[in-house]
Symmetry: D2
């Protein structure tokens, strides 16, 4: 499979959806050159969205990270579609009030608070605690041994829904290492208790339909074939966007290493429309 220059693809689409980790940022922050790249894309009259399985901080905090030193905010928070946002919509629609126990850093609680319900960190819960939902938001911000055991026992006892706002199993830490993401912890607990957790995030198509609906409001005659999804992960970004009917570009700057790409695409049967070394090529 030949690689394509990403820059050469931009002109063919009206709207670009970007994954964040492994595409525009890594564990150390936004990649050098990203604000300039985004400015260049926006100058060509394209709309840009970020579609990210992340519930560790608010969209406003995410938006600030992409700001350009001169031009300021490039991607407004309304164009950052995070899995946390879908979780928030769910809590607002289905709970309306009540208390939600959560696993994650304090910044994760934004998604619970802004749904109008009360967040309680699982580290502050007892096993018999009465809650209206349990939310698994992030892999940091709690004591794994103590708090995963409390979470397991709470889930066994209550019949409240359990929501997972990031189904990713791992995330790239650096070129050589990955970290266990909250999706792995959730899958472990779900298997033990035999209950069905409610997941928000790619590859479920809801992230794409939500972003497409936003984009469609700005661009009335937008068709799916006018949108390109750019991601680094076959099992989330690419299969999800393929299923939703978007064209897809796999970049080799994150979870998928250049030397494995052809093999993984063949082995898994997940076919991106394009293959690009990175967004800078």
């Amino acid at each position: 499979m030949l690689t394509t220059s990403f820059a050469s693809l931009v002109g063919r689409y009206r709207v670009i959806f970007f994954d964040a980790y492994g595409v525009l940022k890594n564990a150390r922050g936004i990649l050098n050159g990203v604000p300039e790249l985004l400015s260049w894309i926006l100058q060509q009259g394209k709309d840009v969205y970020v579609i990210t399985n992340d519930a560790s901080r608010s969209p406003a905090q995410m938006a600030a990270a992409y700001a350009h030193p001169q031009h300021g905010i490039l991607i407004p928070e309304s164009k950052i579609i995070s899995s946390g946002l879908l979780a928030k919509d769910f809590l607002r629609a289905k709970l309306r009030s009540g208390r939600v126990a959560y696993l994650g850093k304090p910044a994760s609680a934004f998604y619970i608070e802004s749904a109008g319900v009360t967040p309680i960190h699982i580290g502050a819960c007892q096993v018999g605690e009465e809650v209206d939902a349990i939310a698994l938001l992030d892999d940091e911000g709690f004591d794994w041994f103590r708090d995963l055991n409390i979470t397991l026992n709470m889930i066994r006892r209550v019949s409240a829904p359990v929501i997972v706002a990031n189904p990713d199993l791992v995330y790239p830490v650096n070129d050589r290492e990955v970290g266990l993401a909250v999706g792995s912890l959730a899958a472990m607990l779900e298997r033990i208790v035999g209950k069905a957790f409610i997941r928000f995030g790619k590859p479920d198509t809801m992230m794409f339909s939500h972003a497409f609906a936003c984009a469609h409001e700005n661009v009335p005659h937008l068709r799916r074939s006018d949108v390109l999804m750019v991601g680094d992960t076959l099992e989330t970004d690419i299969i999800g966007a393929n299923t939703f009917g978007l064209d897809t570009a796999l970049v080799l700057s994150g979870n998928t290493r250049a030397e494995q790409a052809a093999l993984l695409i063949q082995a898994k049967g997940i076919l991106p429309t394009f293959l690009c070394e990175s967004v800078f090529t």
Copy 2:
């Protein structure tokens, strides 16, 4: 959990989404009284949609089945959202032309033809056949031993996408028996080859977002809380619609037996908003 009269719920919503099998029909056809029920709901100014994991026949054929002896077609084909329809959209968007090998009855081929691509029954394929996609549409219309073995070997050899237009594992045949649905056959093949198939149908939320977008065109200010999803299966209808943020009514006339309902809801942790004996109560 107390059961509610379905009739008493209708007034609270603007739009009703119905699952088909186990709710409005069974293996012998549309249930007695369904045309009259639908007429009554429509007379109250409600919009009605059918949301069904079914790719075994065209929406027009499905619509005809719900016709009223006097009033004719009650649910136009545009309001029947089948998993086959999403598969068709995918094939049109992602293939545009080519040949698609399929498992299913000849009527299933409608979804391939109407995407502008050429259907070929897998029974007419050789293992080395060159195709652009493989579509698993229905559990009938082929020789399981011969054609599942051909399908397995085709999938191993080609890197074309494999799509599954009905992820259900079983369907109710009568009060005592179930049948193996194509989703079970697909899961068996997927596990063997280790590839990721592309699934269309509940519980993925795309069926609900598609139907909601249609409903929203007719009812401009429609909110998700204005829609009730009525289904007989916790793992598809209820969890999918819950995830999308709709209210849900579980009816006990299909896959979920009355005597097990409370136990299953507790064991699986999938909570419908309401529990109704059937749509006739």
Copy 3:
């Protein structure tokens, strides 16, 4: 990983365990040269056993297939340890009498009859049939569509144990094709009903402990390090024998293709002690 000559390994061990399919035979029968090879090994004073996930025919029928044109039977049936044999032992120990419904060719029924219980082909059963166990023995000898649906409904209704006498997912048909083995059908049914089936065959170590106990009777001071297991499949032959503590040789004449071997060993983390092109090298 370097390949070793199989002939050069024979002298290092006291007992050789062979897998059958992909090692000594294929879908067309015993490989050319196998009787001569076995004669040569036996002449060196080695004991030879066949350890095979196969319940499609009796050990006597299997033994006849390895006969040498001049020397007659080389591997007596007492040295052919099949998964069917373990299933027979189970039925004898746990049922003692009664009726067992089975999926498979008529020759499979040997293992049920010789356990002293009555075999009934599933094609002759009604859904409500009262049986004492259900045995999934072979992928041939029945109508998949009709009989898998009957089997599913029988398993849902009865609380009798379900035994699977061959957990293999596929078997090699020829150099290019595989066939769906009964283990795939069993896994599909097991997932649907949520019950735990009882499996006999590699990679469970019972096949190896049974064979080792037989070998130990003949060779009193036999240690596990005196035995070499020769197989073509990482997930059954190699991991099972590794777990039991035997040395293992992976041959590239069956399920594992030469060009993939190094990659699969690395990807799956299943490490054979030796790699041989075939038993003829």
Copy 4:
């Protein structure tokens, strides 16, 4: 299903195999009355073995716990068959020398040291550390966040075998709570890396064949029907011993609660020969 008095079963068997947790002990130690019960069984000329998925301490430490205040050691360490023991045999047979990184308390390292190889706690490893095997032994004795992330990255990089010396998902902490066992952590890591770990412990039959071989040395004509396995867990004790052909007694003093027992037996299709409230009835 009627419950039977355990005392009335003892006379029918020559050898009794006991699971430990939930049968003879709980998180606070050996149950009151167990030494007296064991004395009484031994006085009747029965042989007693403990078959336990436990690699957290040595058999000598386990044996000491069952000692009688007057009669001293009742079950010698040679009759305590732990999953750690099988792991030790594997390491000795397959590695012979080298370094094994392990997760668990320091006492777990006994099984590695006594195999003649060098234990290194994973907390003392770097991601790039060269080791000959990785052993997951216990859920305590390490920092979950830090050390599970290191373990994941080590497993991704090395092709050394990964062994799991306790496949249990949870263990009972008290009447109301369970704890995450190392088997859950192992299953989470295995799923992420896609490699096959080597598991020791029930339900694999190797624990039973090992114990039966020991028992057979003492009692030359012992048959499987002379042995009763007593356990509290359907998915490990009961299905494993059933598969090996032993009679089984499920006690309701541990993982299986009395009020759920009939339902779980039916739902899972795992049938114990007997049901007993506890070993004291």
